[in-house]
Symmetry: C2
Subunit: 413 residues, 2 copies
């Protein structure tokens, strides 16, 4: 069994966390910024120290390959992302990349040989905070996004992805696509929810990702003066929109268990203290592991918006702006995770993810699964994000052991 060096792992995590560290001990490391360049330089240096075969593609994804005893076998790909949310946490993404790095370091230390080559990867712009869409590097890699389109995407200052890559010296020459088939992809990530913590487990073997739909409703009422307009004559867009918020909250337990429903964007106009709101715009996010449940949630949201607007005598436009079916990860790879957790003695369970990850895209081209470690209080995307160190170590141990098992798999070609 592989043994990782927990002290080195922690020390490395601390060094990486200094690059873009915030006063509140969080991380502000937006993709393709000068801060991102610094952490990429450190990562490349660490890959060079391991003697890996490094390549950088046109979107800035960084790969490092450790050869296998059968150099022609399909490689195992492991990694995550080093970019962060604005004033985000230190664990989101980074913990997965550094678990992969520690895995390769421990293989090097112990002289572990593996049949399949292993590639470590840092995906560009997982977060989507500076450039849209999120999961840009992995999505382009698997062909979900066109590479040329991706390079032309702009941030809020009009800087393109291509320009940002050139400025920091990470506009690689390799095309952003797989050079060969992969055997599998494995990614460690923080859970970003409270389930593992509530269950008292250190490791989750992620078997799939919720399906989801996004809807956008725009509600049109009348801007009346808050004083002289009697209640009966009003057509208040905010009253209708608030009614929808309550209905969306109640929907989460009306169709099935383990459903989440959220109104995340919500804006009104004119937004003046003594004016009845004329317009409201809101987004609705519904998720379930069961695609039929997502479909029913969408229908119910439509009925609720219609009913709320009818009650207030206002009109509306409702659009489904995105729908993605649930993802089923590879039973073989998630089985490897469960077996590895068992072998290293980590408390574990199978689970599904409420959020998409780079792994969601990789699953489209190769056998994929993920390892989750607990998020204290389920907090994420803010500076208070935290994972107990013993859980991080248990996750990295499981990750190293699972990687070793995946890379040992005989050629089946």
């Amino acid at each position: 069994m592989v043994t990782i060096d927990a002290d080195r792992f922690k020390k490395t995590f601390r060094s990486y966390s200094k690059i873009g560290r915030t006063d509140a001990d969080g991380l502000h490391r937006l993709t393709l910024t000068e801060t991102d360049r610094k952490v990429r330089d450190l990562f490349v240096e660490d890959l060079e120290s391991l003697g890996l075969d490094i390549r950088i593609d046109e979107i800035g994804n960084i790969f490092g390959r450790r050869g296998g005893t059968n150099p022609d076998a399909d490689p195992v790909l492991i990694g995550s992302h080093l970019d962060s949310q604005p004033y985000g946490g230190r664990f989101d993404g980074q913990l997965g990349v550094l678990s992969a790095l520690e895995t390769l370091r421990s293989f090097e230390d112990a002289g572990v040989e593996h049949r399949r080559p292993i590639e470590i990867v840092n995906w560009t712009n997982e977060e989507g905070s500076r450039f849209k869409p999120a999961l840009m590097g992995s999505g382009t890699f698997i062909g979900e996004f066109d590479g040329t389109d991706t390079l032309e995407r702009t941030d809020s200052d009009g800087v393109t992805v291509a320009e940002a890559l050139k400025r920091i010296g990470y506009h690689g020459e390799e095309p952003c696509e797989p050079r060969e088939p992969y055997d599998s992809y494995l990614e460690l990530h923080i859970e970003q929810g409270p389930k593992l913590e509530e269950a008292g487990r250190s490791v989750g073997a992620v078997e799939g990702v919720f399906g989801m739909a996004w809807l956008e409703a725009t509600i049109h009422g009348d801007a009346d003066h808050a004083g002289p307009s009697p209640m009966h004559s009003r057509r208040d867009a905010l009253v209708a929109a608030s009614d929808v918020v309550g209905a969306v909250r109640r929907l989460s337990n009306r169709v099935a268990d383990d459903v989440v429903t959220t109104v995340g964007e919500f804006e009104i106009s004119p937004g003046s203290i003594n004016v009845v709101p004329a317009e409201a715009r809101l987004t609705i996010d519904v998720r379930s592991y069961d695609d039929a449940v997502v479909a029913e949630l969408v229908e119910r949201v439509e009925r609720e918006v219609e009913a709320a607007c009818k009650r207030e005598d206002v009109t509306y436009d409702l659009e489904e702006i995105w729908r993605i079916p649930h993802t089923e990860f590879s039973p073989r790879v998630s089985r490897a995770v469960l077996d590895a957790a068992e072998a290293v003695g980590a408390d574990h369970q199978a689970m599904v993810s409420g959020a998409g990850h780079d792994a969601t895209y990789l699953n489209e081209i190769t056998d994929t699964a993920m390892i989750f470690v607990p998020s204290v209080d389920g907090k994420t995307h803010n500076e208070a994000e935290y994972t107990e160190w013993e859980d991080a170590v248990a996750g990295a141990r499981t990750f190293a052991e699972a990687t070793k098992r995946l890379a040992a798999r005989p050629d089946d070609s």
Copy 2:
């Protein structure tokens, strides 16, 4: 009985409406802009044609005096405002100033003599859209605002009121204060609500103004990821804030009749499609003619905010940011309006106003009342604002007759 020239009145209204006219036949004439200068120049020219004694004070309020047979008697003050909301309507304010102008013209035509001097006034910045606060000219005039403070107020570009006045040549030398006691103040205005139209009346004699309170609530929850955060672990500021919106709407018929309650400002953060909202800020406007009802509404709002936040396990700050008691206008002046309406044959009723006007401040220094004319569909503060021309004429006739009666009052000193 005085007879106004309805054709001239309409023609004058059309000429004034061209200055700052919008494509949708509304009015965009923000206070102390170049457009405001143009309409002020026309107004001063019209006052000069009537041979009035004109003076302009340091805040730009424009007065024109027509002498009375007893030049020492306290004058009657009549007028309103010529500034508009951004992309507002043609009737708000302007109809009152031009009714006063037509009144003085018709007195001139018919050689009407009156014991008391009559002063016409155009108040600076009634709307408060460019410079805060609203009712600036009348509020400074009656001593509610300090003149020096008012002159230092800035717009969103940092331009002060004093600078804006100088640029358009309306920074007068007179101090902004009454030179002598007034006998009374009368103002015609559009209702900005649907009551007169619903009752089929042309003229409302306004006997007072609603009291009101403004509250601001800030709600603090947690920003969780919309996917991995199960519903039970959420502290969603938007869910609590929406709950408050519904409660505020229901409150309007829980305490008394003829109460209005409005949430006008409503903002959340972070406002991202897949993030549970962490913060919400909203304002609550409650109004009634009964100050005790306003007080009870404020208490009930406080209880509702507390209950909504408790339900969602979020915290909040709640502040009462403004409270103003109801205004009772002068029974003598509103009686004059009712008698005048009766005399000119205008369908009329007594009523109270849901909104404050310059008259609210003038009431603090002299006997005051208002005349309302109907607003079609109650629409106001937008380009669709409209008053049927026969109603405008009935209002102006009533206004002229009431002014004549007020100015005829014997000296009681």
